[in-house]
Point group: C2
């Protein structure tokens, strides 16, 4: 159990790939995409995870998060029960100053969308903004992965 | 992961309590009560569990079920995120022939409802029906615990 504090940005250039420390393939679906009680099934390369997220605060920066590793085979079975579209993306880890940005390059029905997130210890903590970072989208619900599974980027106007 | 085969009945007398082999207190809520992908948080006495159930077959006898024990403190935290009413009940285990009936005596907003379930290995397996067993309600959705949390027995006509 933890409280997650995150800021989220669009990305205006792919140069971040040159300084990535890690790249993972992520496939995930939602057993509930209601923002009051998100239940996510995720496969990261060959590892499975089940995650529950509570409601966000008013600014969209902070929410309760609970996560457990589960066997890959069980994650595959649970993905079959998930709502709507399964999300697929490559996640790059990009060290920037004292923080590590997670940059998600979406595939499939969300191809074309690239989003960077940085996790903070407190809501007021300072963090460096690299030149490839675009406009902030923290708290904008259509960018939530739970919404990208029902209303994916390729269907946006 | 397992497929659960169950038959469910109302109960027409409380005599089953005299032959119970076990009695547990159960408190549970739902992170999703959609019958295609039920996500249940349960506390049984002092143990926590997270359970995912898939859709039932047409007869309502069989469904995919996945369950994991989780720490009590985490189950208490996840119950706070659940939908609508929290279900509370006493569960009695009643040995009858080669099977064990689970009889749920509901409390709170479902007080007055008593339901017996028997789990089978195959859909055609024979099982004894004790004299305290009432009408069968297998597959009737309003008796699903996931529905009792949103539309509890005390609100029925």
């Amino acid at each position: 159990m933890a409280v997650e504090i995150e800021r989220k940005f669009l990305v205006n250039s792919m140069v971040f790939r040159d300084i990535a420390s890690k790249k993972n393939y992520i496939k995930q679906g939602f057993l509930n995409s209601d923002k009051e009680r998100v239940v996510r099934v995720r496969i990261k390369d060959t590892e499975g995870f089940l995650t529950v997220k509570g409601p966000s605060n008013a600014e969209g920066t902070t929410r309760f998060e609970w996560e457990r590793p589960i066997p890959l085979q069980e994650a595959e079975a649970l993905l079959l029960l998930c709502e709507d579209f399964i999300i697929e993306k490559y996640r790059y880890l990009i060290p920037v100053g004292k923080h590590t940005y997670e940059v998600d390059v979406f595939l499939g029905m969300n191809e074309g969308l690239v989003v960077a997130e940085v996790e903070l210890q407190t809501e007021t903590e300072h963090f460096e903004k690299p030149e490839w970072l675009g406009v902030e989208v923290t708290g904008i619900e259509k960018y939530y992965n739970s919404n990208l599974s029902s209303y994916p980027f390729q269907k946006w106007d």
